[in-house]
């Protein structure tokens, strides 16, 4: 049952990535070159809906949350490495799967490279572990948690701001 749910949610996610252009090399690169921000509008809308919805569900007591640990400087270096890979391939780990399925051979090679990258990390991990948190591991810190307020108090205005920003950013619409 859980497997079927996972599959259906994944299939919906993959279909939306494909239909909204997020799996397109050109669309991603045009966004990163700041020429056509369509994908940025998609991401900001998703985050806006997510912020308001997740914290709304949390208030109702039905959210299953999983906040990732903060560790410095590891998380910054990780983001920088990921960003280089993102611009070189034009895909992220999820959209590469979508692009591969719609016949893009460079996405297949991206996935193979990714499997090797993940494997390399897995075997380097014991050596990297202490460096990962060299300035400090702070655990699963959240913005509202550090202010000691309810999440919705921050998520609601920030979510509205994201949705407003998504609407205001220039894009090419569906053309």
């Amino acid at each position: 049952m859980n497997l079927l749910l996972g599959f259906l949610l994944g299939a919906a996610f993959g279909a939306i990535l494909q239909l909204s252009g997020a799996s397109s090399y050109t669309k991603i690169l045009e966004t990163l070159r700041l020429k056509d921000l369509t994908i940025m509008k998609v991401i900001m809308t998703a985050i806006g809906v997510g912020l308001i919805g997740v914290h709304g569900l949390d208030v109702l007591g039905v959210a299953h949350l999983k906040v990732k640990d903060l560790y410095l400087p590891g998380i910054v270096i990780a983001g920088l490495i990921f960003g280089m890979g993102f611009a070189l391939t034009g895909y992220c780990p999820g959209t590469a799967l979508a692009a591969a399925a719609e016949g893009k051979l460079d996405a297949w090679v991206t996935i193979v490279g990714g499997l090797f990258g993940a494997l390399t990390f897995a075997f380097l991990f014991p050596n990297l572990e202490s460096f990962l948190a060299s300035f400090g591991g702070f655990g699963p810190v959240t913005i509202h948690g550090s202010f000691g307020v309810n999440g919705l108090l921050i998520a609601l205005p920030l979510g509205v701001l994201c949705l407003w920003g998504a609407a205001k950013l220039p894009g090419s619409g569906t053309t």
């Binding site: 939306i16 990535l17 799996s23 397109s24 299953h64 509202h144 998504a166």
Partner: protein, 185 residues
């Protein structure tokens, strides 16, 4: 269009058919269903899981040597909610592309070809290197675009805000280095 010549004979350019707001709303709804029923969405861990299961099948001793692999691919099985979510992505994307008649095969993206030439070897070599960096960075950071940017930022996780900011800064600089302004006359 004249200053974007790669779009003129562009068979590999999957033009979006869903407006940005519908795409964003759809992804947001998938996230909310996942959060309400199971857990936030994530993709990149499953690359490690697949690595673990494949390696365990080839050489159980080698796989057992990595505590990280052991932890990620618990029980060396792919029959999990998380893995099935990731399996669904290409199948959903394939059906979407097929139904909207936008399925097309190519090796070199037209934009890349315009800048770096048609040679497939060059594109594929950089795709491999880029893919390697993508997943190395994602595992280093503990998440990718879906796990950190969509799920993490939505939960107001500080690590996810920092990861996303570093990701975009680096990706924008890299994209501008690959495609300097002069190219587009």
């Amino acid at each position: 269009m004249t200053n974007e010549p790669w779009k003129l004979n562009d068979t590999g350019y999957a033009v979006p058919v869903m407006p940005w707001w519908a795409g964003g709303l759809g992804i947001g709804i998938v996230l909310l269903i996942a959060v309400a029923l199971v857990q936030p969405i994530g993709v990149s861990t499953q690359y490690v899981v697949l690595d673990g299961v494949l390696l365990h099948a080839l050489s159980p001793d080698l796989a057992d040597d990595s505590p990280y692999l052991k932890e990620a691919s618990k029980g060396w099985t792919l029959a999990t909610y998380e893995f099935f979510f990731v399996v669904g992505i290409p199948i959903g994307a394939f059906l979407a592309a097929a139904i909207t008649k936008r399925f097309s095969t190519r090796v070199v993206p037209p934009l890349w070809a315009y800048r770096f030439g048609q040679a497939p070897g060059k594109r594929l070599a950089w795709s491999f290197i880029g893919g390697f960096l993508l997943l190395f960075g994602a595992r280093f950071g503990g998440g990718c675009t879906s796990g950190h940017m969509i799920s993490g930022v939505s939960q107001l996780a500080v690590s996810s805000f920092i990861f996303s900011a570093a990701l975009f800064a680096s990706a924008i600089v890299t994209a501008r280095w690959l495609y300097p302004e002069q190219v587009k006359q």
